[in-house]
Amino acid sequence: MKTLLQAAAALASGATTSQALTAHCLTRARADETSAFLTLDEAGALAAARASDERRARGGALGPLDGVPLSLKDNILTEGVVTTAGSRMLEGFVPPYDATVTARLKAAGAVLLGKTNLDEFGMGSSTEGSAFQKTRNPLDPSRTPGGSSGGSAASVAARLCFGSLGTDTGGSVRQPAAFTGLVGLKPTWGRVSRAGVVAYASSLDQVGPLAHTVEDAAALLSAIEGYDAADATSAQHPRTDLSSLKAGVEGLRVGLPKEYLVEGMDGEVAAGVRAAAETLKARGAVVREVSLPHTRFALAAYYVIAPCEASSNLGRYDGVRYGHRAQGARTLSALYEQSRAEGFGPEVKRRIMLGTFALSAGYADAYYRKAQQVRGLIRRDFDEAFAQVDVLLSATSPVLPWRLGEKLSDPLAMYLMDVLTLSCNLAGLPGLSLPCGRAVGGLPVGAQLLGRPFDEATVLRAAYALEQALGLDFAPVGGA
C-alpha cells in the first residue's frame, strides 16, 4: 500500500484500521534514516487513529482522509505540538492554536503523525538550512530531498506516511516533489488559508500538498482549500472542480515557455520534459512554444521581494514574548541583537539583511519598487501566454538532486536552482510538479505544469493524464 487513496480504500473496506496503519507508519518513522521528521507526535497520532476507527465503526467515517496518517511541515502550527520552523529561534515553541490547514485536516479525520524538517523558515532549496538536522533523499541518501519542504517530501517518498503538507514560496513544494519522485502542488495564492503558517514572504507563501499521485494531491487540496475568515487574503472562490480530472487532454493547449530552457540545464532533465511534451501531444494535446519575455528578471525580483517581506515578518522574533532569548543581555538593543544573532541561522540572517537594505530609505525605489514593477511585467507575460494556451509545461528544477553539501558554500548557486519555480509565486499562479522521467542512476526528473489563477482543475487534469501515460514508480532505498 503506497498511495493515500489506497490507504483510504483499505480503511473503507475494513482491510485495515487506522490504528494499524498508524502503528505501521510510526514504526517506519522511528526507524527512518532520512531524518524526515523533527517531531513525532505518537500519542496524538494514536489517539486520532483510535477516534477514527471508532467513528468508522459507528458508520460515521468522514471522507477519504479519515484515519489516514499524514505529516506537516514544521512551519505549520499545531496546537500543543512543538512547531519550530526549523529554527533555533522557535526551538521548543508550543503553539496555542492550530493553523487553519491543520484544523481542516483534523476535521477531515486525518491522523497527523508529526512535523517534518525544513530549511529554516522555509528559506532554502535543500533542507540543509534546518537548524536541527539534515534530511536525506529516500531515493538516494547521498543526495538532498530538495527544499525547503524536504522533510515533507522525504516522509512521503520514504513511505512513512501517505501525504504531507508543505509550503511553497518560490518552489518549496514543487522542487522537493521533483527530487523525490512525488507530486507537489502549489495552489493559487489565496486558494488555501495562510492563517497559522509561519510567514516567510506573505505575498508569495502558499500551503500545498505532497503526495504519491495526482489524485492524492487533489484529495489533500480538497480538504484544505477554501475561504478562511482568519486570512483576509484568502479568496472567496468556488472549490476546485475535480469532476473532469480523468477527462484527458484531447485538445488541451500546452505551452512550452522557451525562456524556461535555461542555460546549464541538465540534459536528462531537458530530455524528460521533451518526453512529457511528446506524451501529452500523443494524447491529443496541442503543444506549442510560447514566450514569457521577462523571465530573466524573475530571479532578481524574487530575491528582492521575498527578503523584503521576510525582514518584516521575522521582526517579531525579538526574544521578548516567546522564542529564543539571549542570556545576560544588559540593554534592550543587546537583547535584540544577541537573541537574533543566536536564534537565526546564516541564510535567514542573509535574507533579513538583504530585505532590510532593499526597503531602507533611499534604496526602496531602486530595489523594492523596481522589483514590484518587474512582478507586474511577469504577471502580464503569463496573462498573454494564457490567452494562447491552457497550461504551461517546463522542468521543475533545471538539475537533478545534488549531493548533500555540494552547494552549501555558494548561496547564489542555490538561489539559481529556483529559477523555474519562482515566477509562479510572483504571479500567484497554481503550479504542480510530477515525475516525468527517470535519469541514469534512477533519480527522478520533475516536470512542472502551470495554470491560470484558480484553474487548478486544468493543471490537475493535465498532470493526471501525464501520470497515467508515463506510469512511473519510485521506491525508496531499502524498499517499501
Binding site: 512547531t83 492554536y97 487574503t233 518584516s312 535584540y336 526597503l359 526602496a364
Partner: protein, 477 residues
C-alpha cells in the same frame, strides 16, 4: 524678546482612538485598564502565523470622522507596515496607512483669537496603537492591552500661527470627533493625543524654519505651554546666531521645558511597504453616502442656529452644545415647550446642577420633554411659585413622576384666588395696626413684612405677586 519679529508655525498630528469594542486587527477587547495583557489575543501578541483581519466598525468610524471633517474619502486606500524595534510593538511593525491614506483634505473650523479660522487637514489615516512599557523595580514590563487599538491620525497642514490657535483647533477637532461618536475625547487616558510640529520664521518669509516635533502633550495646558517654550527656544537660538536642529523633543511639564528625545540622525528608518497580509481597503460609494446622510448637525452649525433661529445668547448656545446628547434633549424640550430661553435656563441651571451632582448621563434622565413643558406651564401660570417649581423639578428629575402629581403630593400649588388671599391679608393687617400706621405714614418698605405675615398664614402657598398687589391696595386704606 521681540516676538513680533517672529512668526510661529505649527502643524498638529492628533491620534484619536476609535470607539470600537474590539481591536483594529483582532477580536481582543479595547477596554481601558484591566490586568496587564488581559485584553490580548494571539494576533495582538504577534505570535507566529497570525494574520490581521480588519475591524469594519473601525473603518466605519474613520469614514464618519472623514465625512464630518469634510475630507475626501478614498474609495481605495492601502495598508502599510511601519517598522521599528521596541517591546511595545509585538510584530516589529505597526500596521498603518502610508502612501494611500483613507482620507485626504478636509478642515477644522474654530474661533481663533482673530475670528473664525479654517485650518486644512493634510490627511487622516487609520492605524493600530502600540502597547506600553511599565518600568518597575529595575525591570521593564510589557503590557499589550492597548496594542492593536484602532486609531485615526489626523494631520493638519502647518497653518496654525500661535499656541492659542493650536489649542482652539484641538478643542474644535475634539468637539467634532466626540459629537459624531468617533472618539471619547479623553486626553488623560490617552484616547485623544497630540504631537506638535513647531518652527519659527520671519513674518512674510517664504520658507518655514526647521521644525521640531514635540511629544508627551497630554493636556491642553501642556500643549499651549510646550508650544510657547519651544517657539521661544527657537527664537533665542536663532537670535543668538545659532541654528535649530530638526529633532523630536519631549515636553517635561514639571520643568516646563522641552528636551531632545532623538535627533534627525537617530530618526528611525521605518522601511514602509504595503502590508501583504491585507487586501486594499475598499470603501463603497454607498458607505460614504450613508455616512454623509447619517451625519448629525455639527456643533458649530448648531451653535449658530441657536443664536440665529432660537435667539439665544452666544454663551447659552456654547453651553447648550457642549454635549450632543444634552443638546439633543434640549432641542426636544424646546420643540415641546415652544420657546427656547426658559428651557435654556432650566438646562443650564437646575438640570446641569442635578446631572453633575448625581453624575447622571443626560441619556438616563427620567423625564421627557412633555413633563418639562407641563412644569414650565405651571410655573408660568403661577400654579407653582419659583421655589416650588425648583422643588418640583428636583422631584421630577429624581422620579420622573407626573408633574401634576408632584404638585399635588407635595402641596406645591399656590393660592391664587383673591378670596382666601384677602381674608389672610385682613387678618394680618388687623394683628399689626402699628405697622399699618407706619406704612401709611410713608414706611412703604414694610410691605415685605406684611407679605411674610400673609404667607405664613397661607402656609407658604400664596402667590407672592398677587399678595403684594392686594396688600398695596388694602394698605392704601
Amino acid at each position: 524678546m521681540p516676538r513680533a519679529d517672529w512668526q510661529v508655525v505649527i502643524g498638529l498630528e492628533v491620534h484619536a482612538q476609535l470607539l470600537t469594542t474590539s481591536k483594529l486587527l483582532s477580536g481582543a477587547s479595547t477596554s481601558f485598564g484591566g490586568a496587564p495583557n488581559a485584553h490580548t489575543s494571539v494576533i495582538c501578541l504577534g505570535l507566529p502565523g497570525v494574520l490581521p483581519v480588519v475591524n469594519r466598525h473601525a473603518i466605519e468610524l474613520a469614514v464618519r470622522a472623514g465625512v464630518a471633517l469634510g475630507c475626501e474619502v478614498a474609495r481605495v486606500s492601502e495598508w502599510s507596515r511601519k517598522h521599528y524595534f521596541y517591546p511595545d510593538l509585538p510584530k516589529g511593525y505597526q500596521v498603518t496607512q502610508y502612501e494611500r491614506p483613507l482620507c485626504l483634505g478636509g478642515c477644522v473650523v474654530f474661533d481663533g483669537p482673530a475670528g473664525e479660522r479654517a485650518v486644512r487637514l493634510t490627511r487622516i489615516h487609520v492605524e493600530e496603537d502600540a502597547g506600553k512599557l511599565v518600568h518597575e523595580g529595575g525591570a521593564s514590563l510589557v503590557d499589550l492591552n492597548r496594542a492593536g487599538t484602532p486609531l485615526i491620525e489626523i494631520v493638519s497642514e502647518p497653518e496654525l500661527r500661535s499656541a492659542d490657535e493650536a489649542v482652539e483647533y484641538l478643542k474644535a477637532l475634539r468637539d467634532v470627533l466626540v459629537w459624531v461618536g468617533v472618539n471619547d475625547g479623553n486626553l488623560e487616558e490617552g484616547s485623544f493625543r497630540c504631537d506638535a510640529n513647531v518652527s519659527v520664521m520671519r513674518p512674510g518669509a517664504t520658507r518655514f524654519g526647521t521644525r521640531c516635533e514635540l511629544k508627551n502633550l497630554n493636556s491642553f495646558r501642556f500643549i499651549r505651554q510646550a508650544i510657547e517654550v519651544e517657539a521661544q527656544r527657537h527664537v533665542e537660538l536663532l537670535e543668538a546666531g545659532g541654528v535649530v536642529e530638526q529633532e523630536t523633543r519631549l515636553f517635561d511639564p514639571q520643568r516646563g521645558e522641552t528636551r531632545p528625545m532623538r535627533s534627525k540622525e537617530d530618526a528611525h528608518d521605518y522601511r514602509y511597504f504595503p502590508e501583504p497580509d491585507l487586501p486594499l481597503l475598499v470603501i463603497g460609494d454607498d458607505e460614504v453616502h450613508a455616512a454623509r446622510r447619517a451625519l448629525p448637525e455639527l456643533p458649530r452649525a448648531r451653535r449658530a442656529r441657536y443664536v440665529e433661529a432660537l435667539g439665544l445668547p452666544a454663551h447659552d448656545a456654547q453651553v447648550l452644545t457642549a454635549d450632543r446628547a444634552f443638546s439633543d434633549f434640549f432641542e426636544r424640550c424646546v420643540a415641546e415647550v415652544g420657546e427656547a430661553k426658559p428651557v435654556a435656563n432650566w438646562f443650564m441651571g437646575e438640570l446641569s446642577r442635578l446631572l453633575n451632582e448625581t453624575k447622571t448621563p443626560v441619556t438616563q434622565v427620567k423625564f421627557g420633554p412633555a413633563q418639562l413643558a407641563a412644569l414650565l406651564r405651571a410655573a408660568k401660570a403661577g400654579v407653582v411659585s419659583g421655589p416650588g417649581a425648583k422643588e418640583a423639578f428636583a422631584e421630577l428629575f429624581a422620579t420622573g413622576k407626573d408633574v401634576q402629581r408632584i404638585i399635588d403630593e407635595r402641596g406645591l400649588a399656590q393660592v391664587n384666588d383673591d378670596g382666601p388671599l384677602l381674608a389672610a391679608i385682613a387678618e394680618a393687617l388687623a394683628e399689626s395696626p402699628k405697622n399699618v400706621e407706619s406704612y401709611r405714614g410713608g414706611n412703604t418698605k414694610l410691605v415685605g413684612y406684611f407679605v411674610g405675615q400673609v404667607m405664613k398664614k397661607l402656609g407658604g402657598k400664596g402667590n407672592p405677586r398677587r399678595i403684594n398687589e392686594l396688600l398695596v391696595e388694602q394698605l392704601k386704606g
